[in-house]
Amino acid sequence: MTDTNMARAQLAQGEEAIIEFNDVNKWYGDFHVLKNINFSIKKGERIVVCGPSGSGKSTMIRCINRLEEHQKGSILVDGVEMNNNLKNIEAIRKDVGMVFQHFNLFPHLTILENLTLAPIWVRKTPKKEAEEMAMHYLERVKIANQALKFPGQLSGGQQQRVAIARGLCMQPRIMLFDEPTSALDPEMIKEVLDVMVQLAEEGMTMVCVTHEMGFAKTVADRVVFMDAGEIVEANEPHEFFDNPQHDRTQMFLSQILNH
């Protein structure tokens, strides 16, 4: 661990949890998709969630901004309990950015309009200011020259970088990534990961569901492994990869690393 990372880890320990899962359970009909999830994430922590498909990892992070509702237990985000109170949910969503597997850019709006929509309507930022901020984030993801195009005219990697910039425009305290590189061509994965690494280095609280183990090794503070709706193991990356405790984790790692 580098010095800065060490310092960050210590800092993180002193901080209060920004996301807290307490005995969270969720069912889709009869299917028990999340089982007794207990987990907390500190401010500035970078969490990578991995696991086989159907293990509930996407569902778990989608509970954080209540795109999915849990039926038992409690989730606290920034001290606010996520329940049916619409005002709370909207307030939390302002502060939690999300990047989806399929980008979900709005195809009828230009790139610039995609970025300024939420700042203008949710944060009530003046249009000019919102556009300046949007251009700033577009430059950061190295795509400012495409601002006036429509999403349909961009490559997958470019669209995903726009989606990240769109999330950042709300100046969120937490960023959620739901398999951000799974729908991309191999050549485009790197350009998206580069943006995410840069973001991680700036101290953003990040929760990423991803199969990019290289990314997990370099930037994660903790790696969480899920299977069958449960958190099987959560540990620092070098411990997680070099010395997995659970046989299920070992099997998973051998499956994805040896090919």
């Binding site: 795109l67 939690v96 950015g97 949710v122 349909g152």
Partner: protein, 366 residues
């Protein structure tokens, strides 16, 4: 040293695949069946077109005061010429028809003003939506600034048809959108109300609704409380069309990927913000063909108002066919009606296609 990869230059397509000759070959003579169909169509056109031109133009009579003047053996267009004003304005007093013309010209000018770059489009839209109907209403009905009052029972002809069509379209569209959203709402009461409304209205013929509006409702209303028949009919047409519109719009809403709703939610947009800013613009664009389909159907359905004793464009033509001076001009009357309806509906259809192209954002627009 590695070999440097240089993409080969792009070449123009082979000559045989572009140009007029290629178009003819691809579209008219690409297969034996295609050749047969092309020749058969040409033969049909040869059979049909010359007699129509002969009847409609060469042997046609354009002037005269009764059917007796039409001796050429062709179409008796004199009938249309004589009755033209009545077909356009119904029984609206002849001296006052300039008010209708003025309202139409005003609308054309206002819509045309969108082409002026320096004009504020929002203000213009608001003026058309809110100010124009008031101005048009007082122009049509009169009663202020010394304008003579014209009872709505005198309104008729193409004027009435367009009035019913335009108001029906403009009023049923937003209502249909709200009903569609209501039907997909999470709120059980709102959803039930919308479902019951849509299913009830769709299960009933328009004629029934027009009858209800013109005959039944006055029976139920308390003595002394009565409102204009035209208004009642308009409400009936609007509700009828809104139910269909709702289902068309719902189709569009269902076609929008879940990810769009989620992305809008995840940003913290409220329900109405996400609908108005994200979902509806996409959903409505998707169902433009269906929406225009409904509009065209509504426009033609307005002819049914003859059932409740209102003489719209088609009603006026049918009435004129009974004029003893012009017996035997039914074909000319219907041909004229058909042409006018076709021109208006075709215009709507072309406009919708242009609108679809304008809103297309999927492909490169260089």
């Amino acid at each position: 040293m590695a070999i440097i990869f240089k993409p080969s230059p792009s070449l123009p397509p082979p000559v045989a695949s572009v140009g007029a000759v290629a178009w003819v070959r691809q579209n008219l003579f690409s297969s034996p069946l295609n050749i047969f169909l092309t020749l058969f169509s040409l033969y049909l056109m040869y059979l049909l077109i010359p007699p129509i031109i002969e009847w409609g133009f060469i042997n046609a009579t354009w002037e005269g005061t009764s059917k007796a003047a039409c001796t050429g053996g062709g179409a008796c267009w004199a009938f249309i010429v004589v009755y033209f004003d009545q077909f356009m304005y119904g029984l609206y007093p002849e001296a006052e028809t300039w008010r209708i013309n003025l309202a139409v010209i005003l609308l054309i000018v206002m819509v045309g003003a969108f082409a002026i770059k320096t004009i504020n489009k929002l203000h213009l839209s608001l003026a058309i939506i809110f100010a124009y109907p008031v101005v048009a209403y007082f122009l049509f009905a009169g009663g202020i600034f010394g304008l003579e009052v014209v009872e709505t029972s005198l309104w008729g002809g193409l004027f009435l048809t367009v009035l019913l069509g335009v108001i029906g379209i403009v009023a049923s569209f937003p209502l249909g959108v709200v009903l569609a959203l209501g039907r997909r709402s999470d709120m059980p009461i709102a959803r039930s109300v919308c479902v019951v409304f849509i299913e009830t209205i769709r299960a009933v013929p328009l004629i029934t609704i027009l009858f209800m509006a013109s005959v039944m409702i006055p029976l139920f209303l308390p003595e002394g409380l009565n409102f204009n028949k035209l208004l009642r009919v308009l409400i009936g047409i609007t509700l009828f069309s809104a139910a269909y519109m709702a289902e068309v719009v719902r189709g569009g809403l269902q076609a929008i990927p879940k990810g769009q709703y989620e992305a809008a939610d995840a940003m913290g947009l409220t329900y109405w913000q996400s609908m108005v800013l994200v979902i509806l613009p996409q959903a409505l664009k998707l169902v433009i063909p269906g929406i225009v389909n409904s509009f065209i159907a509504l426009f033609k359905d307005t002819t049914l108002v003859y059932i409740v004793g209102m003489f719209d464009f088609l009603g006026r033509i049918q009435a004129a066919n009974h004029d003893a001076n012009w017996l035997g001009t039914t074909v000319e009357g219907y041909a004229f009606a058909g042409f006018v309806y076709w021109a208006i509906c075709f215009g709507m259809s072309r406009y919708s296609m242009a609108l679809e192209r304008k809103l297309e954002t999927g492909h490169k627009r260089n």
